[in-house]
């Protein structure tokens, strides 16, 4: 019955798997003392600073925290706003 349920309706992974994924993220943020809210603040300030010097696409900016085996990093992905014609030359 439960198996049938799962096959027919459930798209979601079992709740144990969801717990594991949620914990992975929560622990990473707890350990670094970097909350998702702080990442938002960082993103806004990075946008403000960089766009003073270079035209960027603020919508596309992403700041993420990743935990590696040795180094934990903040990764900022900042797409520049460029004219197509300028690229072609």
């Amino acid at each position: 019955m439960k198996l049938l349920d799962r096959v027919l309706h459930r798209q979601e992974p079992p709740s144990g798997e969801i717990a594991r994924e949620r914990l992975r993220l929560v622990l990473a943020h707890d350990r670094a003392n970097i909350s998702p809210g702080l990442l938002e603040v960082l993103k806004d300030e990075i946008i403000a600073v960089i766009s003073r010097h270079v035209p960027i696409d603020p919508e596309g900016v992403q700041v993420t925290y990743t935990e590696g085996p040795r180094v934990h990093r903040l990764v900022a992905d900042i797409p520049l706003r460029t004219e197509r014609r300028a690229q072609r030359r």
Binding site: S15, G16, E17, L27, R31
Partner: protein
Amino acid sequence: MSARVITITSGKGGVGKTTVTANLGVALAMRGQRVVTIDADIGLRNLDVMLGLENRIVYDLVDVVEGRCRLRQALVRDKRLQELYLLPAAQTRDKSAVRAEDMVRVCNELRESFDFLLIDSPAGIEQGFRNAVAPADEVLIVTNPEVAAVRDADRVIGLIEAEGKGPAWLIINRLKPEMVRRGDMLDTSAVLELLAIDLIGIIPEDEAVIVAANTGRPVAFTDNSLAGRAFHHIARRLMGEEVPFAPLKEPGFLERIFRWMRSEGEEQR
């Protein structure tokens, strides 16, 4: 001869610290160890009721610290076992009545006469927790296979590492094998991977634990329950024995017979 001081802590409340402390005390004492269980949860004492010793308390930890009695007078001896004692917490005071250095001093005084001092830490990461961890040689972190308990355990592991305490081992308490099997509970490997810490025991969810709390007779006193056996496994590991992690289900009929045949001739515990 100097006792090992082991603090049982968790961060989150209600995961089973006191149950673990009481049962490890019983299991170690049944194995011939001289044990003092120390209730460091000042103001919310419970280790006494878990051990069924609540009617025998005269003095407590705060009386010792404030010099109203000698340390030996405050120790309550468990008459069911040769060498199991309780140093109760005060019920009418709060955590600020004891400082970390008081705990260290009390434990140092007990070290020479015993093999194990088991400190039952209060929940949280404030003063009471710091007091409980201050004298520790080793730390047992109790968690349940659920999000909030694992998160808090991670926090506590971080604090213990930062203080240079340890080694720390993990006890996963209240695991439900049936829920793990259908994928609705974090399994042991997931918890260990998330927390990156060594495992010393897994206690299955077991109604016998509640019955034991009702009667004040910890499950480790007998061999009749899964949880009781799991506590003895941890006690043996603490004593340096290699004990494989057993499957967490009731043995079937045939398995019981095999087990009985194997145990014949062996020394009974």
